[in-house]
């Protein structure tokens, strides 16, 4: 390529994109509506802290403490005790069939062992196919250990009240890893950005091809990198508008904790946006029409939702799916966002998931530049 990179020419394309974006109110409003709608859907309609989950109990002990524990379960509001399982097998069957979400088993001699100080086991088997649903209920159960029997353990047994008088054993069935709360809303940032950033760039270039303006663009002395950057930068700003909307919603509507540094988050988001835009640009060099660009975006979006750890716990997936997931930028980005927002991760903590984004950006960006044809052939 003979002519070097020119910031002025890149600026020319950038300005043109801004003007076109301003004219295309429809696309712009869609891009603002997407985060708002997803927030409402995932934030309100899909309740991540459900109460009164159907529960069965198998009580093999009739002592006073067993009854206190059952009462405490009910009081927590998380458990709706609907059935008594005559045998453990009956209870398991109910779980299998999805009639109940929890099976609580109070073993024989529970009261006797407790009085002796033998720390009997309270067994809770949870249907964790929807781990988000189960997580809060299970957290409540753990607290029971110390609180349920506080009023009962008086006199000589009072010493037992300071430490858990019994152990709670939780079996998460079907899905060994439970996801923590507040997962969805931060994760939305990744999903929304993947969807809109890839699509919008893929379409922006194919639109030039479809409308015939590409021939004009190519007939002018413009360098591929200038065209790519000029087209991408306006959408980076749009991406940040979307992020701001989701973060505001997360903070003020859903009280998602934001422990870590917002500056770090904004930086990480920049890398992620760039990776997605580069992919969109690559798609645009392959797709012949805007429809094809759209289809390629959806094709990429599905694994980004399903295999990234957004919908299902990453460690719960089969190995091959995890391998696929590791390739997707969204997988790494979700870990970064959750790490920063919920755990207060610093730069050193997130680096393990930032460099894969850089690698993706580099590989995809290079491919896009190689595929970008400067002629109409």
């Amino acid at each position: 390529m003979r002519n070097g990179f020119s910031f002025r020419r890149m600026g020319a394309i950038l300005i043109k994109e801004f003007v076109q974006m301003r004219r295309d109110r429809f696309t712009f409003s869609i891009m603002v509506m997407v985060p708002v709608m997803q927030l409402i859907l995932f934030g309100f309609a899909i309740n991540t802290d459900p109460k009164a989950l159907p529960t069965a109990v198998h009580v093999a002990d009739n002592g006073v403490y067993a009854r206190s524990i059952l009462a405490a379960l009910k009081n927590s509001n998380y458990f709706d005790i609907r059935a008594e399982a005559a045998t453990p097998e009956d209870g398991t069957q109910m779980l299998d069939e999805g009639d109940i979400s929890f099976l609580v088993t109070i073993p024989a001699n529970f009261t006797r062992d407790l009085v002796r100080g033998d720390s009997p086991q309270l067994l809770i088997e949870a249907d964790a196919t929807d781990p988000v649903a189960a997580a809060n209920a299970l957290a409540a159960v753990t607290a029971l250990g110390t609180q349920a029997l506080r009023d009962d353990l008086v006199g000589p047994l009072a010493s037992r009240a300071t430490k858990p008088a019994f152990t709670t054993v939780v079996h998460r069935l079907y899905n060994p890893e439970g996801i923590t709360q507040y997962n969805i809303v931060p994760g939305l940032i990744g999903v929304i950005l993947t969807m809109t950033m890839v699509m919008v760039t893929a379409m922006a270039m194919t639109r030039e091809r479809e409308r015939g303006t590409l021939e004009n663009l190519l007939a002018m002395p413009s360098h591929p990198l200038e065209v790519m950057l000029g087209k991408i930068i306006p959408y980076v700003l749009v991406g940040y508008i979307q992020v701001t909307l989701v973060l505001l919603g997360a903070r003020f509507i859903f009280d998602v904790p934001m422990v870590g540094s917002l500056v770090l988050l904004i930086g990480a988001i920049g890398v992620f946006i760039a990776a997605n835009l580069a992919l969109g640009f690559l798609f645009s060099t392959v797709a012949k029409t805007q429809l094809q660009a759209m289809q390629m975006t959806v094709f990429f979006l599905l694994p980004s939702i399903l295999l990234s750890g957004f919908m299902f716990p990453f460690r719960g997936m089969p190995t091959w799916a995890q391998w696929l997931g590791e390739i997707l930028p969204n997988t790494h980005f979700l870990r970064v966002v959750r790490g920063i927002l919920l755990k207060g991760n610093g730069p050193a903590d997130i680096w393990a998931n930032i460099w894969p984004l850089f690698v993706f950006l580099l590989v995809i960006g290079t491919l896009a530049m190689l595929r970008y044809r400067r002629t109409l052939d």
Partner: protein, 313 residues
């Protein structure tokens, strides 16, 4: 500085198995206006795209403004103004925004002034805020011309610039082309209009990817060795289809209330037209073949004109 603005030899382009352009040689001296003619699909657009670096030739060499068409496409793009056959400016940008974009891409100094001057020159000033998508054909074509001459190119490649434009706008367009040419620009313009061909210094006629004839209009007509008789008389048009299969007749057309009967074999043609000569109701005269007669003949070199020329399909 060579004296030729365009100097290419053996340009060839294949699309799959189909040869769209087959060994085209074109030499256009600086400052001339050349017409590029030929039926639809004959390879005009493909040739022009190769000249300005938009398509890579499969074979052939040459220069455009002294730059190699294969290795120096970037230089060519800077100094050539190319007007695409299909309107290819941004319909969601206004006239001025389109021009400003072009000015920025070409890194033109004193951009505002140049855009304003170009708007003025093409009479676009009053409409500068109008979106390109809302313009009619004639105004779109003016915008396209304005945009492709904004960076003061030395060579204009215009691909059917006047297709679908009304006669008044076409005339103004050609006046502008001639003004530009007086300023020293070289112009290669493809067209289907005979009157436009006659406004060119020279014409090149291409058919099925190969150049068939070239030269001034008079040369082209002379070299066709075509003989044309004009027949007028009562209801003469009814003979049109009857004459088509007769010996010596290569092409019959009806315009200007006269039947134009053309062929290269004068003796056979005279023989065939004898009945008209002998009929006092009809007048028959020999005339110089028109460019249109020649082109229809060129389009069907070995036989009858089985289709009428398609203008701007």
């Amino acid at each position: 500085m060579t004296e030729l603005a365009i100097d290419v030899r053996g340009l060839t382009k294949r699309f799959g198995k189909k040869i769209a352009v087959d060994g085209v040689d074109i030499q256009v001296p600086r400052g001339e206006v050349w017409g590029f003619l030929g039926p639809n699909g004959s390879g005009k657009t493909t040739t022009i795209r190769m000249l300005c670096g938009l398509l890579k030739p499969d074979a052939g060499t040459g220069t455009c403004l002294g730059y190699d068409v294969i290795t120096e496409a970037d230089r060519i793009k800077r100094e050539v103004g190319y007007m695409t056959q299909k309107f290819s400016f941004w319909e969601d940008l206004s006239i001025r925004e389109n021009l400003e974009f072009v000015a920025r891409v070409y890194e033109i100094e004193d951009r505002k002034a140049r855009v304003a001057a170009t708007l003025e020159r093409l009479g676009l000033t009053a409409r500068q805020e109008q979106l390109a998508g809302q313009l009619s054909g004639g105004w779109k074509q003016r915008l396209a011309l304005a945009a492709c001459m904004l960076h003061a190119p030395k060579l204009l490649l215009l691909d059917e610039p006047t297709a679908g434009v009304d006669p008044q706008a076409r005339r103004e367009f050609w006046e502008e082309i001639h003004r530009l040419s007086e300023e020293g620009l070289t112009v290669l313009v493809s067209t289907h209009y005979m009157d436009e061909a006659e406004r060119c210094d020279r014409i090149v006629y291409i058919s099925a990817g190969k150049i068939v004839t070239r030269g001034s209009v008079a040369d082209v007509i002379r070299e066709s060795r075509l003989v044309t008789f004009l027949i007028s008389g009562p209801d003469v048009r009814r003979f049109l289809s009857r004459l088509e299969d007769k010996p010596g007749v290569e092409h019959v057309a009806f315009f200007g209330a006269k039947l134009h009967v053309s062929g290269r074999d004068r003796a056979a043609l005279e023989q065939t037209l004898m009945p008209f000569r002998n009929d006092p109701d009809f007048q028959i005269e020999e005339a110089e073949p028109s460019l249109e007669d020649v082109f229809i003949h060129l389009q069907n070199p070995n036989g009858k004109a089985d289709t009428l020329p398609m203008v701007n399909a």
